[in-house]
Symmetry: C3
Subunit: 367 residues, 3 copies
Amino acid sequence: MNGTSVSTSTNVSIGNNSNDLRQSQQYLQLYQPPQINGDFLGKHIISVSQFNRHDLEILFDATASIRKRLRQNDRGLLQLLAGKMMATLFYEASTRTDMSFQAAMRHLGGEVIAASNGVQFSSVYKGENLADTVRAAGCYADVVILRHPLVGSSYEAAYYLDRLGEQIKRRPVIISGGDGTGEHPSQALLDIFTIYDFKKRIDNLMITLVGDLRNGRTVHSLARLIARYEAVGTTLCLVSPESLRMPSAIVEFVSAHGVHVIETDNLAEVLDHSDVIYWTRIQEERFEDRSEYEAIKDGFIMRPETLAQARPDTILMHPLPRKHEMGTPADHDALDADPRSVYFQQMENGMFVRMTLLAKALGGLWV
Amino acid sequence: MNGTSVSTSTNVSIGNNSNDLRQSQQYLQLYQPPQINGDFLGKHIISVSQFNRHDLEILFDATASIRKRLRQNDRGLLQLLAGKMMATLFYEASTRTDMSFQAAMRHLGGEVIAASNGVQFSSVYKGENLADTVRAAGCYADVVILRHPLVGSSYEAAYYLDRLGEQIKRRPVIISGGDGTGEHPSQALLDIFTIYDFKKRIDNLMITLVGDLRNGRTVHSLARLIARYEAVGTTLCLVSPESLRMPSAIVEFVSAHGVHVIETDNLAEVLDHSDVIYWTRIQEERFEDRSEYEAIKDGFIMRPETLAQARPDTILMHPLPRKHEMGTPADHDALDADPRSVYFQQMENGMFVRMTLLAKALGGLWV
Amino acid sequence: MNGTSVSTSTNVSIGNNSNDLRQSQQYLQLYQPPQINGDFLGKHIISVSQFNRHDLEILFDATASIRKRLRQNDRGLLQLLAGKMMATLFYEASTRTDMSFQAAMRHLGGEVIAASNGVQFSSVYKGENLADTVRAAGCYADVVILRHPLVGSSYEAAYYLDRLGEQIKRRPVIISGGDGTGEHPSQALLDIFTIYDFKKRIDNLMITLVGDLRNGRTVHSLARLIARYEAVGTTLCLVSPESLRMPSAIVEFVSAHGVHVIETDNLAEVLDHSDVIYWTRIQEERFEDRSEYEAIKDGFIMRPETLAQARPDTILMHPLPRKHEMGTPADHDALDADPRSVYFQQMENGMFVRMTLLAKALGGLWV
């Protein structure tokens, strides 16, 4: 049920006893997260690569069900994880991920602990490494939510929680809340659930991702997840400036799973064919040449007049927070009032999806 | 049941699309908070102007009742808001308001979420505006407690939570925890409840407010609330240095509601007639002329020898925290031991009043 | 049941009204914590000096029992402190103490409040003193967990909570989470419980404390607690550099209680006789002469080859967090995999011991 270490030795020789070589990133090779394969119980959730179509279908159904129960004020929900403990370790701020995980756990009757002053002021400050801090959290909790700036940190945490489990005879699980430029799996899961929720399918859709597709963690994970769903008849439109195209490895991965891919730098070409528009920000500092940014930036701002050209049944998504990529505050107000804008529902879905992940990973009675 | 937007357009034109013109303060005109009129359910609580005498009488009764039940360890309280979620957004620190709201929600069986690292390190840091952050909190919670340094921020939050409600088909409420130099309604409510609690009436009292009455948010709100109660036969004594007098608009408002007002810079004139003495701090930095401060400061320090001159049935209140305005630490100890000092009971009442507000606004079974 | 003030006056004259003379440390003389004497109910827990052998035996039994119930997912635990409120005031970070107290309270069905942004950003910032802040917490909570950098702060808090109790007719208790270089009683209690847990006795053991025994709060408290247990036939081995020896007052206290003491600077002399090795860090900055540090430092690093020389039934403890005193990260991994290393179990025991303290001090039904 656990993930398996690639190495067979317990005292894995990681590098040459040098801190430099023990970076979190090494755990991407060292630790292999377990496939869900229809059963979430006791499994770390640190990568979209753990999910297949069937797992996502389970997730969609369970999330819709849990949302319905919550809206009906079904107090039975409060029994599902009663007595279970969640620890949050947020090494960088992320209001939405943080608060929605807390709300999710509490809506299921579970409890939440965190460093009162924020983990950045805590043992870490005293020089403790992640492996030890995550095991401290694991000693007090059944599930640890980790947000960390380093790629691979969630794999490292999973690895060390498995080691801890051997000692305390109880293995806490980790659910990643995002690791640097790596993955943010629960974000990708709430994104694909939101598409399913509004369009009632993932197959036969035209899904358009817009913005900085080279650096955007969110769009990488969502693209990979659509591929893992093996969506039939679906086209993924990738709209970005030439210098910020989606990495070819991801494009190839998606294509290899039967999803048609279109790449362009011109939204107008695909806008009125899109069932889903997923909007993200382009940051000026990504451009070496400022004039290049100036030349393209207006094409990557979603304004009410842009949305006006989309089909009536298109949905506009955004991971939030947003800044200038949706224009002025007045543009925000206008976009928000458009029924095609579903990013607030998408945000709320984040809580429902996380309720499902927690309930299934921790074995709430209902799962 | 909601507050009503003054403008009829959904995409309100706020200024000229300029951030400078979209300041929170504009929402004081744009948004009109709903009158309580005997029914708290589903209403934002952002101003003392929402309350009339009848509403306050309801609040006094309910608060006394809820306090009694809590002291009797009545576990039924834990059912009142079971399954309800409160989010705290504290953009500035306020230990008492923050902790008492948390305790209030939890004593009613409700749950609390907050940004683990403090909201000041969160999305805000990434440049997100209040309208979006408060809607994020609203997506995960039934009630948002907002503390923010800008006047009008609570009105802005109420406005945008109403917008959010149109989208997610569930309207979270906000309860203000203080907005800058604006209002701090739950503080004023706990203050007036404490007067009622000890004196068994608001009518026919002599209530003396002392300190910086020009800048003090607390004393402004309390004065307005006494006026809204339309206290019969009550005198409000306003004791301040000449340069820090209560704004004339508030004095006129209070007088217009039948409360007699006396203004003086000499406490001795009114001390032994006062039923209630409400003490606040004078800050040196409010004086342009330091010599003016030096000349008057000793008259605005409450010391044991000052209190000695008050009547035996007078109560001494203070919103806390306190610094030099109650003398030395030894003065604190002496004042604290005087049975007329009720500021700790006043502080505890803060929790009971907030329990009442939460239970009534969220529709706990008991209300 | 309360502690008794040494002074008979309520308005204790503490110094000459000067803040400088009102330091927390004065309360070590001014306030005498109550002896447990078999009854924890309503008592502050701020010093190991409150415990005798019988109290520790009660604690050991209760902790083993509560751990068993938690591991069996006994939901009855959630009823023990239902409706009770704990406030955490952490003036310095301490992930383990903080999170384990939170988890402990919540596993017993109690609730937890804290300043959302960390207490260091709160009223304290506005210049409020500890006496007032701790009473604010006491107004909203039944138990306050205080971590503070000043010696005597927990005594000061206990003193002022007793004063508060006279006013609000309900006396909250404090449990210390560590006060500066003073005491950290719950750490010492979890340490001695861990010894008992693995060795089934405190009598007839050879317990070796290693590291900076002059400055280490943890080892001071543990040594004193072993003395208070009046362990029969037990030897305490104190291994430190000459300049960092255990204070003679503690050595004399331990000897006077019938525990044999050996002092040495050479671990090799006692390693293979030790039943328990309690490892702590030596900090370079403690040495005036850097060459002295260089000369001895290697003898105070626990490495796998050091542990290899210990007996098979020895246990290796550490209060954590750890840094270079357990070698490189690879050394950590090797030590962690050794079944004699019990510091993770020790850490987990921290939560169980704190559950016992909370349940007993607050009068959970089970005690």
